[in-house]
């Protein structure tokens, strides 16, 4: 009886007893979720347009952040470094299309997936070679990102909102909205969706796959850069960030591999679920459940809705 009480009642009693703590936990979860969502968004962009699961998305985040900080350390002014980093991400997209995707055109998906593994290790090597392997501090102040926190009094306690977290949420929302409009309402957006649906039909109406791939990899690179800046500002910039990219997997399973809104909702569910789980149920299991809870949520989800919340349901006629 005691264990049932601890699982089903006690956490909710705690939530009711200290609502300010609950709000704080929800907020922390939301912020983590937004960042997961940003990483997942990078995956979704590339998966939608080329059917490639880009294992290198995580390292692209690190690589973008490293390039930014590295350039600054070499004496380039912060905002110029930002522009140059965007240019580097474009160069990367262009090179990936030329060297990786084009020679592998019409190969099975698994080959392309393996190629992105190769790309991951190449980028790790290149990043270490050029910028060194030591963790770096994100240049948040130079990029005029806010610092400090707001403390809001509520429920007899207070909730602390880091300004950088608010900025992250705002930037992520703006990015998602812009991408949504771009995908739904413009010629290139339509071409992207066309390529996602059928390569041969897209080719037949004169869409160049090469061009579209450069566009999506560049978009994914920009998303990676934004993610890198935000993560980097909270912790620091190192190759350890790459591990966090794996958190995007449960997010994708939840949201569906092809849905931009799915990435956002999935990210928030995972982020919030993780923090709430850790805070209220973690002690029962000796804590540290944050690192695996997301995968368990995803696993349960797979049983009931394998295509994800917003994914396209696959119906095949036989």
């Amino acid at each position: 009886m005691d264990i049932l009480y601890k699982i089903f009642l006690d956490p909710f009693v705690q939530m009711g007893a200290a609502p300010d703590l609950l709000v704080q936990t929800l907020w922390d979860g939301l912020v983590a979720g937004v960042l997961y969502a940003l990483i997942a968004l990078g995956f979704v962009l590339i998966f939608k347009a080329s059917g490639v699961f880009n294992f290198a998305q995580g390292i692209m985040v690190v690589f973008a952040a490293l390039t930014l900080v590295g350039l600054y350390e070499h004496g380039v002014p912060a905002f110029l470094a930002l522009v140059l980093t965007i240019a580097v991400m474009y160069g990367l997209a262009f090179a990936v299309e030329r060297v990786v995707l084009r020679p592998l055109i019409n190969q099975p998906d698994i080959i392309l997936f393996m190629a992105t593994f190769g790309l991951t290790y190449f980028l790790i090597g290149l990043g270490e070679l050029v910028f060194g392997g030591d963790p770096k501090v994100m240049i948040s102040d130079q990029l005029l990102l806010p610092r400090g926190a707001y403390e809001i009094k509520m429920f007899g306690g207070f909730v602390q909102l880091q300004k950088i977290d608010i900025a992250a949420a705002v930037i992520a929302s703006v990015m998602v909205l812009a991408l949504g409009v771009f995908f739904q309402k413009t010629r290139i957006g339509r071409a992207l969706r066309a390529v996602a649906d059928s390569h041969k039909a897209a080719l037949s109406v004169g869409i160049s796959l090469e061009y579209i791939w450069v566009v999506v990899w560049f978009a994914a690179g920009i998303v990676a850069l934004a993610t890198g800046i935000m993560w980097g500002a909270r912790s620091n910039v190192s190759f350890a960030l790459e591990i966090i990219a794996l958190k995007a997997l449960p997010v994708l399973i939840l949201g569906g591999f092809t849905s931009i809104p799915g990435a956002i909702v999935g990210g928030v569910i995972i982020g919030v679920g993780e923090k709430i789980g850790e805070f209220y149920w973690g002690p029962l299991l000796g804590s540290g459940i944050e690192s695996w809870l997301a995968y368990v949520i995803a696993l349960i989800f797979l049983l009931f809705r394998p295509q994800g919340l917003f994914g396209e349901r696959i119906i095949e006629r036989i």
């Binding site: 771009f182 413009t186 010629r187 339509r190 071409a191 969706r193 066309a194 041969k200 897209a202 080719l203």
Partner: protein, 266 residues
């Protein structure tokens, strides 16, 4: 309307010529030394038994396949290798045997996708959907609405094409090809799997496209009645080789063609 198979296009200008084209996949020879031409304004049928290389021929023309040998001259420009989007840019549009639509998109968006090449506003304007990009959307939308009216499908404009019945999907696919305002339209079995009524509708659209827009059409079709009614000239393939070429009347009485279709005692 002029009579089909009449001589008035016979003397016309050649829009596309295929010379000695050979295509093989490893040891499988899909096409062997095939030569024929398509004249401006005609409806040219490509027929033949299953596996004769008809679809391979279309794939060669629109750049999906690159023949190992031979030459293709389209509107005076010769080439052996070309990418599909370059073919599209040059004015070649096509439909597919097993309908290749953008399934997640509405009928309208599918046909709008056919306008991709005609639209030029740059990426930045598109991103903010402002000024030139917006005007352009509106102008092209008007052209697309005309095509939708022409094909008599205004009621399914907003329906995701994956949900449409097969006959309508084929019509949307034709609409997407027409939206490109092509010089040469390639139709791969436009009537496969259709019932009689749908076939009649589709025949009417093909004739109208040819008559009203003056579009040159090359089509693959198995229904001999349709082929004989629609086409000006017919080329017949068997095992990747050309066995006959001429007006429908000539083809009907050609001994080789009859043998190919009915089989012959060896």
């Amino acid at each position: 309307m002029r009579a089909r198979g009449s001589a008035d296009v016979a003397a016309g200008e050649v829009i596309l010529s295929v010379e000695d084209v050979s295509l093989a996949f490893g040891g499988v020879r899909a096409l062997t030394d095939v030569s024929f031409d398509i004249r401006k304004g005609e409806i040219r049928a490509i027929i033949g038994p299953n596996g004769a290389g008809k679809t391979s021929m279309l794939n060669v023309i629109n750049g999906f396949y690159h023949p190992q040998r031979g030459r293709i001259t389209f509107q005076g420009k010769a080439r052996t290798r070309m990418r599909p989007y370059e073919a599209a840019r040059g004015g070649i549009a096509r439909t597919f045997q097993n309908v290749a639509l953008f399934r997640g998109m509405s009928a309208l968006d599918n046909i709008m996708a056919g306008r991709t090449l005609a639209m030029h506003a740059n990426l930045v304007f598109q991103f903010v959907r402002f000024g030139p990009a917006l005007n352009e959307e509106v102008a092209h939308r008007r052209r697309v609405e005309e095509i939708i009216d022409f094909l008599e499908i205004p009621h399914i404009r907003k329906v995701p094409v994956g949900r449409l019945p097969y006959g309508l999907q084929k019509r949307v696919e034709l609409g997407r090809a027409l939206a490109m305002e092509p010089q040469l339209l390639l139709l791969d079995e436009p009537m496969a799997g259709m019932n009689l009524e749908e076939k009649e509708d589709m025949s009417r659209f093909i004739l109208d496209v040819n008559n009203i827009f003056g579009t040159t059409i090359a089509l693959i079709e198995h229904d001999m009645g349709v082929v004989m009614d629609l086409s000006d000239r017919v080329v017949v393939l068997e095992y990747g080789r050309k066995i006959a070429d001429g007006t429908p009347d000539q083809i009907k009485t050609d001994q080789k063609v009859i043998d190919a279709y009915l089989g012959v005692a060896h």
